[in-house]
């Protein structure tokens, strides 16, 4: 059979080039029974509709995936989000995960760090080291990455309002380790807009927050070109209760706001555009999730190419991280959670994720233990090496059901995004409570369905069993808070106070004016100014957001 000209062109150009850079993992891919798996299964006839809606992997509109050979060349990055207690304890967990075959780090910060309070601030009481690691100053970062070469790992940091501060600390530490800025790889979450409607770690009002984000885009473009400057996150919107369609619509609408802000600041869409990344949740509803990921890719490609006129195909690609959905985990019969996570992880892989975090079975009750985190990581490894799913690109593509769901998620999400556009964009939509109302209504409906058993949750409202829940607990000793408070006070007493004052004054001046905030923040962290001190300067200038 003659090959379709466009297929031939893809094979020769797009795929050929990619395989030169990154050959496939195996000479041939076979099923367990020995059948050869095609790289990319295609319809018998490639027609205009196929080209327009699905196309080829690594080519517009990227419905079938962002890389030409997808997991046949490189598996997704297995990246477990971890962090708790002190920097020293978390450092041990990172080194354990790297030894177990994890391929990237993902830092969970505690809430005071995420909200820009030092550990000895009054608001930090009780929260230090609880949901993540406490970082007050560069001194803590030095301990967190002790013996971990920053030039060799990629590090994702779940940090939003104070993202500039943590980025500066990471870069300062890299310099100490002698790593070139260009070689530093990682991702900042840096997505403040979703904090106002879900998750809640906002500090400043939306508009100055957008300025900080834009400054990060600009500075990274010139200094750390391999850093993903933002991870535009649907995950938390979904966890807060939204539907899959709302997750796509609100996330892409936020993405549009960031692009607009950067364009208004005079940045080049093809410089910052290719460093934008995304983050979605994966529930147990496999088909809807796979459809969601594919629809989101197709939509973003059109937004970047047609609306924002980006020229570089890399700017059109929606690259994303996935985390399995925490809200689906149950405190009852917790072993069932391993099964849920497996299905969710599978949907992420079928949907073409670039990296993946799998939740641990005990997370409806407590922080995960080392053992349960290992099982979660093993779940990904089983999918990667035993399921065969990664060996053929977009393996569900062409399924009547999947394509129909993909189209429907796309059209419903466009409709919702149009409503936001009509309101003047995301910020007015947040100010008027439009987005929050949608999420709250969806969360309430979901809960009612569980209550009246329209939605069965195994072990919760059906198939219940009497059981003694015995979960080994990872408990954060209250001593951690006292030790961290002592640590930050020690850092303050040992540094050059005049240099700190001078650097904070320079930051204040930049914040009041229009200069990029990154250089003065970098200088302040090098002087061991604390996260609280740096954020306080910006609080004074920018004000604070209140719910």
């Amino acid at each position: 059979m003659a090959k379709h000209p466009q297929y031939k062109e893809w094979e020769e150009k797009t795929l050929g080039k990619a395989l030169q850079k990154m050959p496939e993992r195996k000479a041939e891919f076979k099923t367990v029974g020995g059948l050869q798996l095609p790289r990319l299964a295609l319809p018998k006839e490639i027609d205009a509709e196929y080209i327009q809606k699905l196309g080829f992997p690594g080519e517009y509109p990227f419905t079938r995936g962002v890389q030409p050979s997808m997991y046949r060349s490189r598996l997704w990055t297995m990246r477990q989000y971890a962090g708790f207690s002190t920097a020293a304890e978390t450092n041990k967990r990172y080194r354990y995960l790297l030894e177990q075959g994890q391929t990237g780090l993902s830092v969970a910060f505690d809430l005071p760090t995420q909200i820009g309070y030092d550990s000895d601030h009054q608001m930090s009481r009780g929260e230090v080291g609880k949901v993540g690691v406490a970082i007050d100053s560069l001194a803590d970062m030095e301990v967190l990455f002790d013996q971990i070469p920053l030039g060799e790992v990629s590090t994702s940091m779940t940090i939003n309002s104070p993202a500039a501060v943590l980025l500066a600390m990471y870069v300062a530490l890299g310099e100490k380790q002698g790593v070139d800025r260009e070689k530093m790889r990682g991702t900042l979450q840096n997505d403040v807009l979703k904090e106002y409607v879900a998750r809640g770690t906002f500090i400043y009002p939306p508009r100055p927050s957008l300025r900080i984000i834009t400054d990060i885009f600009e500075w990274c473009g010139q200094n750390t070109p391999s850093f993903n400057t933002i991870s535009i996150s649907g995950y938390h919107i979904r966890e807060a209760g939204s539907t899959a369609v709302q997750e796509v619509a609100f996330t892409l609408a936020n993405g549009i706001s960031y692009v607009q802000a950067a364009l208004e600041a005079g940045l080049d869409v093809d410089v910052f555009g290719k460093r934008l990344s995304f983050f979605f949740g994966a529930t147990t509803d496999i088909m809807e999730e796979v459809a969601k990921f594919r629809a989101a890719r197709r939509m973003w490609a059109s937004i970047m190419r047609d609306r924002f006129q980006a020229q570089n195909p890399r700017s059109w690609m929606l690259r994303f991280h996935t985390q399995t959905a925490g809200h689906t985990l149950t405190a009852q019969q917790i072993d069932n959670n391993v099964v849920r996570v497996t299905l969710q992880a599978l949907s992420a892989v079928l949907g073409g994720t670039q990296s993946l975090h799998t939740n641990s079975k005990d997370e409806a009750l407590t922080l995960p233990t080392e053992e349960s985190v290992r099982t979660a990581l093993r779940t990904q490894q089983v999918i990667a090496h035993e399921s065969g799913v990664p060996d053929s690109i977009d393996p569900l593509g062409g399924s009547y059901l999947l394509e129909e769901l993909t189209d429907r998620i796309e059209s419903e999400a466009w409709e919702l995004m149009q409503k936001i556009e009509d309101m003047g964009g995301v910020i007015p939509a947040i100010e008027q409570g439009f987005i929050q109302r949608h999420i709250d209504d969806a969360a309430y409906t979901y809960q009612q369905e569980v209550e009246n058993k329209e939605r069965i949750m195994v072990g919760v409202n059906e198939f219940k069993s009497q059981e003694e829940v015995k979960v080994p607990l990872l408990r954060i000793d209250p001593e951690v808070e006292r030790a961290q408070v002592a640590q930050v006070q020690k850092v303050r007493s040992e540094r050059d106070e005049q240099e700190v004052e001078r650097s904070l004054a320079a930051l204040r001046e930049a914040a009041q004016g229009e200069d990029n905030l990154m250089p003065p923040i970098l200088e302040a962290v090098k002087q061991y100014a604390t996260i609280g001190e740096i954020c306080d300067v910006m609080r004074e200038v920018f004000g604070i957001h209140e719910e």
Partner: protein, 136 residues
Amino acid sequence: MAEEKRIRRVLIGKPGLDGHDRGAKVIARALRDSGFEVIYTGIRRTPEQIAAAAVQEDVDAVGLSLLSGAHMELFPEVVEHLKQRGAGDIPVIGGGIIPEEDVRALKEKGIRKVFTPGTSIQEIADAFRELEPEGA
């Protein structure tokens, strides 16, 4: 007219820095739908602010939601601040990511009931209904 229900007006509070408010909001709305008057504090309140709001709003009970693990520190502080304001008779209920062994300890510190994930709204509404003021 028959004697009114004892618990009518409820404050739902989110102490600490945790922004996970899906549960708190769903419960506030469900309690409203089942006939309670509900005041929701919003996220990121100190125990002191929550106690002050409870007194000022003259509520009959307080429900706290926290998913960050800081419940052992922050829940009892709300009880303490209520006592300091002479409102120690307002019963306090808590919920969130709370391991079983903490439940007992929290009860000893004056939290009347503690709910973990998977609890039905009905159960929580019933729990509020059945509450009686401290010492009654």
